[in-house]
């Protein structure tokens, strides 16, 4: 079964005064994806988002959300897309509920639905009790949650979150991410999340794209990319030996389940499909090698990130 394509860009390009910020970007995001949009500062993530929303015109190329052209039909795109900008702000001297009601009215919701939606949205993010409080009294974390409530008002099909967790404490981040993942699942909402906090992205995203200098360096399912970064296997075992011989490497290669073996200084990096530490230890001892240390790790997004940045 092929899922519906929600976001599609074709050769999307943006130049600012002769510098290319986004360079022929081809993104494809499917329904229900939680897409982690990664990249260093200034890679062009926010510019891409602004073009997706029709807030900025691309120099060339097209962007479509749900089949609507972002540049030509921005209103239709904005009706189904919720956007939380990086430095999200509210009217500080107005109550939280009033801020959300304003969004609801801007979306043309009938008056009887406005209050209902506002209450619902505040409830989902756990801010019902402070609905009457002025936003100026809110903490950073509360404002971020209010921003999520703000996009839920219009029940979007796509949510674009630009650094939704910046400035929140670690516990708040975890709660926030779980909340986003839960809402996305419940409402079948496609989520695009920009971040440079790799751990967070790994936590909830199923698909990632890494942008560097306006170009998509890598894009795909997190699982798959993780394996590639670890040399094809699911796990990586690091072995430290006093002496490494090529015969030893050959012996290890022959163990069933080992995908690849790489040498890096006095370390052997072994990529494998399952935990093969006992087998590897036996082979090393059998070959009269002196084992110093053996560590196992599953892939981390950092590996993917680092791998592709080295390549880029």
């Amino acid at each position: 079964m092929t899922k519906q394509l929600i976001v599609e860009t074709v050769d999307l390009t943006k130049n600012y005064d002769n510098t290319t910020v986004v360079d022929k970007l081809n993104l494809r995001i499917e329904e229900g994806d939680i897409f982690g949009f990664l990249g260093p500062n200034g890679a062009g993530k926010t510019t891409t988002i602004l073009m997706l929303l029709g807030l900025t015109e691309p120099t060339s190329g097209t962007a479509h959300i749900y089949g609507y052209n972002s540049t030509r039909e921005p209103l239709k795109v904005k009706r189904i897309t919720g956007y939380v900008p990086e430095k999200v702000g509210f009217y500080e001297d107005l109550a939280a509920g009033y801020n959300l009601a304003y969004t609801a009215r801007l979306n043309g919701l009938p008056e009887e639905l406005v209050i209902k939606r506002v209450d619902e949205s505040l409830d989902i993010v756990g801010l019902s009790e402070v609905a009457e409080q002025k936003v100026g009294e809110f903490s950073r974390g509360m404002k971020q949650r209010l921003a999520i409530a703000d996009i839920l008002i219009k029940m979007p099909k796509v949510a674009i979150l630009d650094e939704p967790t910046s400035g929140i404490d670690p516990e708040g981040i975890t709660q926030m991410l779980d909340m986003i993942a839960e809402i996305a699942k419940e409402r079948k909402m496609t989520v695009i999340m920009c971040s440079h906090q790799l751990y967070q992205v790994q936590r909830i995203c199923n698909r990632i794209g890494i942008l560097a200098k306006g170009q998509l360096v890598v894009e795909g399912l997190l699982d798959q990319l993780g394996r590639e970064a670890l040399g094809g296997g699911r796990l990586r075992i690091e072995v430290k030996l006093t002496e490494i011989t090529s015969e030893l490497i050959d012996c290890i290669r022959r163990i069933g389940g080992v995908v690849s073996v790489e040498r890096s200084g006095d370390l052997l990096l072994i990529s494998c499909l399952e935990d093969l530490r006992p087998q590897i230890a036996r082979v090393i001892v059998g070959a009269n090698g002196l084992l110093v240390e053996m560590k196992i790790q599953s892939y981390a997004l950092e590996d993917i990130y680092r791998k592709y940045f080295r390549e880029a």
Binding site: L50, L75, V84, F90, Y91, N107, G108, D150
Partner: protein
Amino acid sequence: MQGLMTVFYKELADHFTSWRGIILFLMVLLVSVFAVLGPTGAIDNIREQLATPVQYGAGRFAFLYLFSTSGEGMYPFIWFIARILVPIVGIVLGLDAINSEKSSGTMSRLLSQPIYRDAVINGKFLAGVVTIAIMLTTTILLVSAIGLTVLGVAPSSEEVARLLLFWGISILYGAFWLGLAMLFSVYFQRVATSALTSMSIWIFFSFFMSMAAGLAANVLAPMSQTPTAPELLKNYGIQITASRISPIMLFGEAATVLLAPGARTAGEMLQLLHASGARWMPGPLSLGQSLLTIWPHLATIGGLTAALFAISYVKFMREEIRAT
């Protein structure tokens, strides 16, 4: 349309519930009452005039003189409206209209809603104009009520018509200052910069323009020790023309013609003619003639307002939202 109305209602509610709006409103009402009821205010002056009749047809337009005259050492209501109240209200309502939304991060959220971008600037401008209109209506009605109860003089139909016209051009004048302030709020990213710029333009026109005009007149038409009438006239003519660069002067003249039908344009001019020995006593102008006199003034203020708003509109619409 729905987006425009939503922005409009929200901004209007903001103006009337925020401290800023309440303070402005109080200021307008207090100054107006002071101008009319205060010592040597309009009421005192009219009582005096009514006691010694036949001076510039004072009896006929006693009601209007509530707004346009004052006693010694005091300024009339329209002076406060032209110089201080309307400019301040217009500027304060518009000075952070656009840039505060940018700096507080609400602009990108606002623009990601399904509304046309011009709904934001149109709604804000409209809300400002309506706020100014409501303030002016209230204060004109208040002054009228004071006049009715204290003086016991009812307005004639011509006086009502003149007041309505005055009300209309005051709103237009308010829209000019609002447009000026909004223009700077589009151009400058920082609220402090835009506020200072519009304030300094107001201060220049309000307090330094007459000085500058006088200076220009003395350079272009210097007067001898004992100036002759033609010399005086030429000097004065240049001074008035130069000071008409200022919208405050334009509005002040228009308001004077409407509310003090005895005057042609500037009161000083008449006194000067009188002092220089001209045997000519001005009679009150008819409403139609008054309108004809101030038509160029109105067209200029209207044109300036439209131009200011158009520039802000274009700049705001073309502005690119960039990643920061």
